[in-house]
Subunit: 169 residues, 2 copies
């Protein structure tokens, strides 16, 4: 009887392990991932809806836009905090350039970075539940740059679940 129980347990554990393995595979980013966090560029993010734009002054001189996946967008719109697991935010950034068509306007120049935050409260329990990725031309920045992410978010916006960007109404 004990042997039978062990066999059943092993079978269930095996199915669970297979399931978890599959989920991890299905969620895994296809391309390169960031150091420390293992965060990749999520598929299809360029089609995600807008959270808000921002502008960064010198020395960066950037125009930026944050977009969100459906889980994060729902949390923003319903004011749910902390963001639920599976929330993903992506910030696209470009150099801030004078418009050639209209003097008072500035428009995107060359793309600079794409930055990603992925909520997984278990995997990133030691970092407020978020994993970070910073990409330049599709490649992750180095480990030193990724060591700055949590420190800055934690010191400035810990009370907003570590997220700077507010939803633009």
């Amino acid at each position: 009887m004990k042997a039978f129980r062990v066999a059943v347990f092993s079978g269930v554990a095996g199915v669970l392990a297979l399931g978890i393995g599959y989920m991890a595979f299905a969620d895994a980013p296809a391309g390169p991932v960031s150091p420390i966090y293992g965060v990749g560029l999520p598929e299809g993010y360029r089609d995600w809806p807008l959270v808000a734009p921002a502008q960064e002054a010198a020395p960066l001189d950037e125009l930026r836009v944050v977009v969100a996946n459906p889980t994060a967008l729902k949390a923003y719109r319903e004011n749910t905090r902390p963001f639920p697991d599976g929330s993903v935010l992506v910030k696209l950034a470009w150099k801030h350039e004078q418009s050639p068509d209209f003097v008072p306007a500035s428009v995107p120049g060359a793309a600079t970075t794409v930055q990603v935050m992925v909520k997984d409260s278990k995997r990133y329990a030691d970092n407020g539940g978020w994993g970070y990725g910073r990409f330049i031309n599709g490649q992750p920045a180095d480990e030193a740059q990724h060591q700055t992410c949590f420190a800055c978010h934690s010191s400035r916006v810990k009370d907003r679940d570590y997220v700077f960007t507010r939803y633009a109404q």
Copy 2:
């Protein structure tokens, strides 16, 4: 026989008329529409993908984002010009404010205008094929403001099918 043909023709014409009537109804904006052009705020535009952000200097001091419906987005990505009928562009704008969380950053303040361009080469044949709408708090601006749209787009970006905003790569 002739009477029969007339009856068949009337029947077909009737079905066509019903169909066209339905299409017109389905495309009609639900809310108030702009003077001159009859353009409304398209349903669901807040979920449309990003074309590009922009910043407008004083006196407007705005952060802006242009989003596009699937027809316009496809044209942008495939570099199809002129934009096909059914293309819709929406520009959301907010006052440009200092971020309370990070000194070098500016973020959206109060919403200012939402501006719409709708491509219909027959309906707007006299205005480069585009109809314009400018909305403040969901209500269309007055006729005088709408008289400025085509003049400005025509004088500055006629060679780009009257569209200022380029797709941010």
